[in-house]
Subunit: 152 residues, 2 copies
């Protein structure tokens, strides 16, 4: 699983809620590391007709997981990735379809992440996730993800 | 909207993702303030067959919103409630249906929350949400919610 398309298929096949969210993996770059998911508003709306916080945080959580998984795969390591913790600030109500962009936290590097996987078979990655409606920053999340090499 | 049943109906009618999660409002007490939601595992599972972090955090986020909304309603104030921020620690994988229990954070009181609503028409509430699989604490979230009286 190394491309946006493969990741999208894996998510839709294995996480039922992602289908209910009509989630799409809309972009991935390895250099710099960045993963973008897209969600339509309608299935992710709340009682006020704006973006449901649960959908926003769920999509952000998945974006960080996806980025961590793709980075491990591009280091040629078949890893299990889980989230350890996260925090999110909701900044603006969302009134249309939204994008969720995961990048490395400022203090992180792919080299450090890969080094842990290569030497110990496990590593952690702090991911910064921005939830955008067009140019508007609607929410900002930091998530800590743990990757562990699968043992044959 | 003052009972668990009314809250459940409101959520299911107005938040499409809650239906995909098969979410139930399974308990509410005013004294001490506590709201319990229940989610089945199957629609909320991930690629590992355990609880999807996105479902867990989404359900926890909704539990705090529900508790804050019910407290405002029991203070006879028709309020709009939104989440401002939250942080969550994922402690154990979930392997079965789970309960999400929202209570006041240790430093909070209903009196303080009501006072803000009564005097300024707005108030904030910090909610502690435990995600339980039976007796096992699987995740722990703190959420900060803002309530504002609707203006006729």
């Amino acid at each position: 699983m190394k491309t946006a398309k493969e990741l999208e298929q894996f998510i839709l096949d294995n996480i039922p809620l992602s289908r209910a969210m009509s989630l799409q993996v809309s972009g991935f770059t390895l250099q710099p590391p960045s993963l973008t998911l897209t969600c339509p508003l309608t299935p992710n709306s709340n009682d006020k007709g704006t973006g449901f916080a649960g959908s926003i945080v769920s999509c952000a959580t998945l974006a960080g997981w996806g980025l961590t998984s793709l980075l491990a795969a591009h280091n040629n390591i078949d890893a299990t990735v889980v989230i350890a913790s996260s925090n999110i600030d909701y900044l603006k109500p969302i009134t249309d379809d939204f994008q969720v962009v995961a990048t490395l936290a400022a203090e992180e590097s792919v080299e450090r992440f890969n080094q842990g996987l290569d030497s110990k078979g496990k590593s952690r990655l702090k991911v910064h996730i921005n939830v955008m409606q067009g140019e508007i920053l609607a929410a900002s999340q930091f998530g800590l993800y743990a990757a562990r090499e699968k043992r044959g």
